[in-house]
């Protein structure tokens, strides 16, 4: 009995030695546990993105190191991203357009170019929806009526002004020739509350993520007038895009990944390789499918250009909405 114990301990030690020599043998980045920061509480979009990344990268053996998801909620991402800024290249964080708008709205000193762009991963689309018995059956009709009398149209949005739900309609309205600062928004606590308000007839329309209203539309409880995608969305092909409605706009609600400032080229290349492989896996496609997300992969270089372009767009939108500080 004792011998077996001794032998097994010996084997264990050898294994450990092998592992550690292996790790130091491959050298370089990453050489310790990795961290993905979800700058929000568990359960939301950022958290689910971070946990999906962790799961797919681990399950598909793309990354050998342990990956931990860390929740750092607060300040619309600010708390988590400040934390990221203080870490080394073994910590990454999930982001979205808030990394741009927080600063544009004067709510944060952090700017997007203080971080290292890694990838853009997935997108959701935005939807404009009205009650099932609404007198407006197209987005054009709705905008026409709003143009006539912008104050009378109560539009539900959540959880705060300046987010994509809000700004996507701001863009549509201003493309249509409406002054977006005149729109009458009621701000609810979250996407779910917005939908409840619409179903109960407490608002005339809502602007929200497509996933919040898609099933309700299919069940005939409300009508989606337009989606912000470039082509019709699977499952609801009957709903026109904004472009079909003559409003020249494609508005993604994207999520991506970024690292702390000053990552080296090798470190960035490491993630470009891993993430580009990950987005091709069946498991990742399943994740996208379950969440009603669409693949929106851009590598680090493309993401850098994309962020710049988006920042210009959001700057204009925030200004149009009358929220510029």
């Amino acid at each position: 009995m004792r011998k077996i114990g001794f032998v097994s301990i010996l084997i264990l030690i050898m294994l450990l030695a092998a592992c550690s020599s292996n790790a130091s043998g491959s050298k370089g980045y990453p050489d310790k546990n990795l961290e993905i920061v979800a700058p929000a509480s568990p359960g939301g979009g950022w958290d689910l993105t971070a946990r999906s990344l962790e799961k797919v990268l681990t399950d598909e053996n793309l990354v050998e190191q342990n990956i931990n998801v860390v929740n750092k909620p607060g300040g619309g991402g600010e708390v988590g991203w400040k934390y990221l800024k203080s870490k080394d290249a073994h910590t990454l964080a999930v982001n979205s357009s808030l990394v741009l708008t927080n600063n544009l709205l004067g709510q944060s000193d952090l700017t997007y170019n203080e971080f290292t762009p890694i990838a853009t991963l997935a997108t959701e689309w935005q939807a404009l929806a009205v009650p099932a018995d609404s007198k407006y059956s197209t987005a054009t009709e709705f905008l026409e009526a709003t143009k006539e009398n912008p104050d009378s149209m109560k539009i539900g949005v959540g959880p705060g002004l300046g987010n994509d739900d809000h700004l996507s309609l701001v863009q549509a309205a201003s493309e249509f020739g409406i002054n977006p600062s005149e729109l009458n928004f009621l701000v609810y606590e979250g996407g779910g509350d917005v939908v409840t308000a619409l179903l109960g007839g407490h608002v005339d329309a809502v602007t929200t993520s497509l996933s919040e209203v898609k099933d309700q539309h299919l069940a005939g409880k409300l009508k989606i007038l337009a989606v912000s995608s470039d082509k019709p969305v699977e499952g609801i092909e009957d709903v026109p895009t904004w472009q079909d409605e003559g409003v020249d706009m494609v508005f993604p609600h994207w999520r991506g990944l970024m690292g702390p400032p000053d990552m080296t080229e090798e470190e960035i290349a490491y993630w470009d390789e891993k993430i580009s492989k990950m987005v091709e896996t069946e498991q990742w496609k399943k994740v996208l499918d379950n969440n009603d997300w669409e693949s929106f992969y851009k590598n680090s270089e493309e993401t850098e250009a994309f962020l710049k372009e988006q920042n210009d767009l959001y700057q204009k939108l925030v200004k149009d909405s009358g929220m510029m500080k």
């Binding site: 799961k55 709510q107 069940a219 399943k286």
Partner: protein
């Protein structure tokens, strides 16, 4: 309701693996509910990675069991230590703790478990027959109705503080003031955040609960530690008496449906349900003066209500895909990851899943009442634990619970500040519940008021524009003036003492 799917759902729910999850979830829920700060939302969130590998039906069964399990557990620490584990267990401190002080801890634990059980059963039956119409009823609630519901809750709290009305009012105002900290959603303006991004989402009411109750209680007992040793509490029975049952029977049966209805409203939840049920029972009771002194029915009623509310909260989640509470929001996220999308199509496309959950709640409540009654004997031993062991443990748990809320050490400072604050309030004999409840409902109350007025273009008529809102206004007025009316009536009946009974009956 569809009979075939119901039976199929039952068959799924009684698969051994699912029974196991029900028991595991219920037990886990009881434990996290008991610990200050660790609530069902945290427990479900921690389990998300584990549920990834589970069958979606088992996952939803497990998560739901944790949720209502926590409702059972929450009152345990309210009764034994005067520290509620969550907002919905605050009302359990009013009479639960005095009962424990009188040496009736065993009775209190037992009757609250049974009350939770009956409340849960009533709600599951309600769910089976009324899910659809109730979901539509919930939609009637616009900003004006929500504001009035919260106003009713606050007026109930003030009415509770009879005898120290001014102090109760003061505590409530402090709570409302604290609730204004954070981003104002209507305008996006940051209020009273002192430049700290951490405060942008407001002060988490759980930190305040843990601070003023748990830390405050420990500090307070620390000051009085010498007197305390002398009266060693003896723990009597582990089952309630016939008389206690007789007094609690009707309050339990009334509070179940009440809590269920309030639970269905997204955003209302267990705190409001238990509070309203407590005050309404107190007001219609013949022995209202015993409330707050360890009346069994004062504990049983809110316990029945909050458990019923947790079942009710599943209705908007399952029928509309709308989370009605923090915990159901986390559940929604987890279910979507599993490819199960609660919403209007769930009952059509996956009826077995929906009915499996409903049936599991039925079984879960049976499992929980057994678990909790078995635990009574063990839990009352906590009271025998020497203070030098117990209090450090409570403080430790308080810090752990606080950390899990947002993984930030800044919350520790808030916790300590509110701990000292709680101590002060206890010394000055200011009631704590109005402060905490005002903080819980304050933000929503303000935002709903402003949305209501915005949508009516400034007219206050919107608060009288629907049947529901008028009913709520009347209830609010009643809850404020009922004690006064009763006083007047009593005075009169004292003058002509021949018929006091009838006065009560008519009430």
């Amino acid at each position: 309701m569809d009979g075939g799917s119901f039976i199929n759902g039952l068959m799924i729910a009684i698969e051994p693996i699912n029974i196991l999850w029900i028991i595991v979830g219920g037990f886990l829920g009881t434990i996290v509910g008991m610990l200050p700060g660790l609530g069902p939302a945290t427990a479900v969130a921690v389990l998300i990675p584990i549920t990834f590998s589970m069958n979606p039906v088992s996952a939803i069964i497990l998560m739901a069991a944790i949720y209502y399990g926590a409702m059972y557990g929450g009152s345990r620490s309210s009764i034994l230590l005067n520290t509620p584990g969550d907002g919905s267990a605050i009302a359990a401190t009013f009479d639960g703790y005095p009962m424990a002080k009188k040496g009736q801890a065993g009775e209190a634990l037992a009757i609250s478990a049974v009350a939770s059980f009956i409340g849960g059963l009533i709600a599951v039956v309600g769910f089976i027959f009324l899910a659809e119409p109730l979901a539509n009823f919930a939609l009637e609630f616009g900003p004006a109705e929500y504001f009035l519901l919260m106003l009713l809750t606050l007026s109930a709290i003030v009415a509770l503080s009879i005898g120290k009305m001014v102090k109760g009012f003061l505590a409530m105002m402090i709570g409302l003031t604290l609730s204004t900290v954070g981003i104002d959603t209507q305008t996006g303006v940051y209020r009273f955040t002192m430049g700290l991004p951490h405060l942008s989402e407001g002060i988490d009411f759980l930190i305040v609960i843990i601070g003023v109750y748990a830390i405050g209680e420990v500090l307070y007992n620390f000051l009085n530690i010498d007197q305390q040793k002398k009266d060693k509490k003896k723990v009597g029975k582990v089952w309630f008496t016939k008389d206690q049952w007789k007094r609690s029977k009707w309050p339990i049966l009334r509070s179940g449906p009440l809590g269920f209805l309030i639970g269905v409203l997204p955003g209302a939840g267990g705190s409001i349900a238990s509070m309203i049920s407590y005050t309404s029972e107190k007001q219609i009771s013949k022995r209202s003066e015993e409330f707050g002194d360890g009346a069994a029915e004062g504990l049983a009623a809110p316990e029945s209500a909050n458990n019923a509310a947790s079942v009710g909260a599943m209705i908007p989640l399952l029928t509309m895909g709308i989370p009605g509470s923090g915990t159901t929001a986390v559940m929604l996220g987890a279910l979507i990851m599993l490819g199960l999308r609660p919403g209007p199509l769930l009952f059509e496309q996956q009826p077995e899943t929906a009915w499996a959950l409903v049936n599991s709640m039925f079984l879960g409540n049976i499992a929980l009442v057994i678990i909790n009654i078995l635990l009574v004997g063990l839990l009352v031993k906590i009271l025998d634990t020497p203070a030098k062991v117990l209090y450090p443990i409570i403080v430790l748990l308080a810090f752990i619970g606080t950390y899990t809320l947002s993984y930030s050490t800044m919350d520790f400072f808030l916790l300590l500040i509110f701990g000292l604050f709680g101590l002060m309030m206890k010394i000055m004999d200011i009631p704590i519940a109005p402060l905490v409840l005002a903080l819980i409902v304050g933000t929503d109350m303000e935002q709903n008021f402003r949305m209501a007025v915005l949508s009516s273009n400034g007219s206050l008529g919107i608060f009288f524009s629907s049947g529901v809102s008028i009913a709520l206004v009347i209830l609010t007025l009643l809850s404020l003036f009922y004690p006064l009316i009763i006083k007047l009536v009593k005075k009169k009946s004292q003058k002509n003492t021949d018929q006091p009974e009838q006065v009560y009956k008519s009430s």
